[in-house]
């Protein structure tokens, strides 16, 4: 075991994968010599050479399109989009090509590729360094979408994603890169080394895609969440004193529906929390599933706390980000419904 930040855990996963499999190649903007703007690929080019880890022109469609071509050839590309906010030029390649290739060729051509992208807000990133576009991926048939919330899962999920035969969108909450964040922007930042999930096994292990995990057992309600909001939800449960069960989904698609229904079936109340904007966000899918699967157990309407339906603002960061106060208030209101 070693203590790692999420950045180190991701780098370690790439190192383990590249060391084990010569087909794994890593590329993107500033990924090579410099080691990535977030340091997630630092040292990989020096260790594995320029043809295994390299810089690309600034062209997201080119990065993903070339990755698809390589995956089709038989390599295992792990490509990086510098910010999830900049994936839109690659969206045609992701949706029309990567996601559809196996289907349209009846399995003749496949796309075992991982597209990594830092996601989420809480860092004064403004409109184009804070977005959470996961719903734009979960709506696409043929993609898998993963969001880790800690170093241990980040490494295990990334290794599982690289070994997966299907294209995986790997969203890394950049607010969690250096430490857990409960949404208390006015308190000192924390480091992963003081957190139990900063303990990362050495070498190879995987965290399976499609499996959620319970972060806090509780009886009063179920909170369905992922990424940074896992920590916010845990904090809100402590602060409200409400006995909430917090489920970290980890994989949005495939979704661990069993874990969701088992928990909501028991608690009878469900709060969904994500940073992404509310309308047509991933929370809407979760709410519809919970409503359909747990209708007779529900004691209150399913409730969602999400980013407002606005572009991500700069100066209003903490009025926008669904912090522990907003999540806590929603928890209390959810308990008031009899």
């Amino acid at each position: 075991m070693a203590r790692m930040t999420m950045i180190e855990a991701i780098r370690d996963a790439l190192d383990v994968a590249m060391g084990a499999d010569p087909r794994v190649v890593v590329f993107g903007e500033d990924v090579g010599y410099f080691g990535g703007v977030f340091r997630c690929t630092a040292g990989l080019q020096a260790k594995y050479g320029r043809t295994r880890c390299f810089d690309t022109p600034i062209n997201e469609s080119g990065i993903v399109g070339a990755g698809i071509g390589m995956a089709t050839y038989g390599l295992r590309p792990v490509v990086e989009i510098q910010f999830a906010d900049y994936m839109y030029p690659a969206y045609d390649q992701i949706v029309s090509e990567a996601a559809r290739l196996r289907y349209r060729s009846a399995g003749e051509f496949t796309c075992p590729m991982v597209v990594r992208m830092p996601t989420g807000g809480g860092i004064f990133g403004g409109q184009t360094h804070s977005q959470s576009p996961e719903a734009l991926f979960t709506h696409v048939t043929g993609l898998k979408t993963v969001v880790p919330s800690n170093p241990h899962d980040a490494k295990g999920l990334l290794l599982a994603a690289i070994e997966d035969p299907d294209p995986v969108i790997f969203l890394e909450p950049k607010r969690l890169y250096n430490g857990p964040f409960e949404g208390h922007h006015d308190r000192p930042v924390k480091a992963w080394k003081a957190h139990e999930l900063g303990e990362v096994p050495e070498g190879h292990y995987t965290v399976p895609l499609g499996k959620a995990v319970m972060r806090r057992a509780g009886q009063a309600m179920t909170v369905l969440t992922y990424g940074t909001m896992v920590h916010v939800a845990l904090s809100a449960a402590e602060e409200t004193g409400l006995d909430a069960e917090v489920i970290d989904l980890r994989s949005l698609l495939p979704l661990d529906l069993e874990a969701v229904t088992a928990s909501v079936g028991r608690t009878g109340r469900c709060l969904i929390v994500h940073e992404a904007t509310l309308t047509s966000g991933y929370g809407a899918e979760l709410a519809a599933l919970v409503q359909a699967e747990c209708f007779w157990q529900l004691e209150a309407p399913v409730r969602r706390v999400a980013g407002w339906d606005t572009p991500y603002p700069h100066v209003h960061e903490w009025s926008y980000f669904p912090g522990p106060a907003r999540v806590g208030a929603a928890m209390r209101e959810l308990m008031e419904v009899v």
């Binding site: 190649v25 043809t51 295994r52 690309t56 022109p57 062209n59 469609s61 080119g62 399109g65 070339a66 990755g67 698809i68 071509g69 390589m70 089709t72 050839y73 038989g74 390599l75 590309p77 030029p89 045609d92 390649q93 029309s96 090509e97 559809r100 290739l101 196996r102 289907y103 349209r104 060729s105 009846a106 399995g107 003749e108 051509f109 496949t110 048939t141 043929g142 898998k144 997966d164 035969p165 299907d166 499609g210 698609l253 495939p254 979704l255 529906l257």
Partner: protein, 417 residues
């Protein structure tokens, strides 16, 4: 020119390019400058791109009016008369196949078809420059790659009919073929996407220390897509072993090539901005296409990097079975196209060198038609769009992922399977 005062300047006006002729007008190709066959030089494959810029602004041609193969590109060609006759047969087969499938669409045996009329030489000849293991990333108008590569015609028909023997299990629109074994990447409806994928595939071959090369394909209209630019940037940066083919058939559905080309002169010239050598070739000259393809493929195999090749041709047919070209261009325009018909030109060459005759050609035409019709009957006996054996709708849920996730399994059950 003296610049007038700001307020005295005339108001700005937008330039919207327009073809010289429209329906009812007299076709006019006088603007197309066509050099005599054999007059364009053939540089060594390792020539400095800077030294061969002129080749993007001319047209490499081998077959002259008398059907003789002339000039340096003819001399460098590696092909014998038997192979040429086979090439002629490929083109004739593609044309006969197209005609039958067009008719089948009119008979509602399939929903859709796209023909290659006038462009047969490009894909049929290019295929000959590739080795087993090389990979094409085609558009929907390169079926000659399959025919010249020995892919069964019956399987192509089954794909068009979406019947039980369709390898794509009826999931794809007609003509969106796929065959890994035949070096033919799965066709996508989204234009230009495959161009950058071809570059990535070629990069993978180079990363792996392999000897395989890729061929990218795009039409004149789709060069305007962002992925064309992405492909040229990546190919240029990494010197990927890829041939970047542009089929300039003058038309993108109803839009004339000037809308995509603007003032750039030629599509081939686009390569120069990326430091990629570029050739411009007579796309209706089987021998010229082959000669250029061999040159570009050799460059790629020698790790000298990518080549842009523009094939100058004319889309003689409608864009698709859903298109009526008489609504936007003169009906006689294809007959006026100065580079002629690729099949007739190769036929005349073979006659000129004493390897073929008009009788043998007529006989071959009848044979090929009989063969295509017989194959069509076999395919139709399996099924067509509305009749016969079709893939099970249960198949609809397979291959979305390697393994069917629970939510899809549930939906398949809901659908009754």
């Amino acid at each position: 020119m003296e610049t007038p005062d700001h307020n005295e300047m005339p108001p700005l006006s937008l330039v919207v390019p327009e073809p010289e002729v429209r329906p009812g007008d007299q076709p006019d190709f006088s603007r197309v400058e066509i050099p005599r066959a054999g007059t364009v030089r053939r540089p060594p494959v390792d020539a400095d791109p800077e030294e061969i810029r002129d080749l993007a602004f001319t047209i490499i041609r081998v077959l002259n009016r008398d059907g003789q193969a002339v000039g340096p590109w003819a001399e460098a060609l590696e092909i014998d008369a038997e192979a040429l006759k086979e090439g002629l047969r490929h083109m004739m087969t593609l044309r006969a196949y197209d005609a039958r499938m067009m008719m089948a669409q009119r008979q509602q045996k399939t929903s859709f078809y796209m023909q290659h009329l006038g462009e047969e030489a490009i894909s049929c000849a290019f295929r000959r420059a590739l080795n087993p293991g090389d990979m094409n990333f085609p558009t929907y108008r390169q079926a000659g790659l399959l025919i010249a590569g020995g892919y069964p015609l019956k399987t192509m028909m089954c794909q068009v009919y979406s019947n039980d023997q369709d390898p794509m299990r009826g999931r794809q629109l007609p003509v969106m073929y796929s065959s890994k074994e035949h070096g033919f990447f799965s066709i996508s409806g989204n234009l230009a996407t495959q161009y950058i994928q071809a570059v990535g595939w070629a990069m993978a071959s180079a990363i792996s220390g392999d000897r395989k090369i890729a061929a990218a394909w795009i039409g004149d209209g789709s060069t305007a897509e962002s992925d064309f630019h992405a492909a040229l940037v990546f190919a240029s940066t990494y010197k990927a072993p890829v041939v970047l083919n542009i089929v300039n058939n003058q038309w993108a559905i109803s839009t004339f090539q000037g809308i995509a080309r603007g003032g750039s002169g030629t599509f081939a010239a686009r390569g120069h901005g990326f430091g990629i050598p570029a050739l411009r070739v007579d796309g209706n000259d089987y021998l010229a296409v082959l000669a250029a393809a061999q040159w570009a493929a050799e460059r790629a195999r020698l790790n000298l990097g990518p080549t842009v090749v523009e094939y100058v041709t004319y889309r003689a047919g409608g864009h698709s079975t859903s298109d009526d070209p008489s609504a936007y261009r003169p009906a006689e325009e294809s007959a006026a196209w100065p580079l002629g018909d690729p099949i007739l030109r190769l036929r005349n060459h073979l006659i000129a060198i004493g390897e073929w005759s008009e009788d043998r050609h007529a006989q071959a035409e009848a044979e090929i038609l009989a063969e295509v019709v017989a194959t069509q009957k076999e395919a139709e006996a399996i099924g067509t769009l509305h009749q016969g054996l079709r893939p099970s709708p249960a198949d609809m849920f397979d291959d979305v992922y390697a393994e069917m996730p629970p939510h899809l399994l549930k939906q398949r059950h809901e659908a009754g399977f």
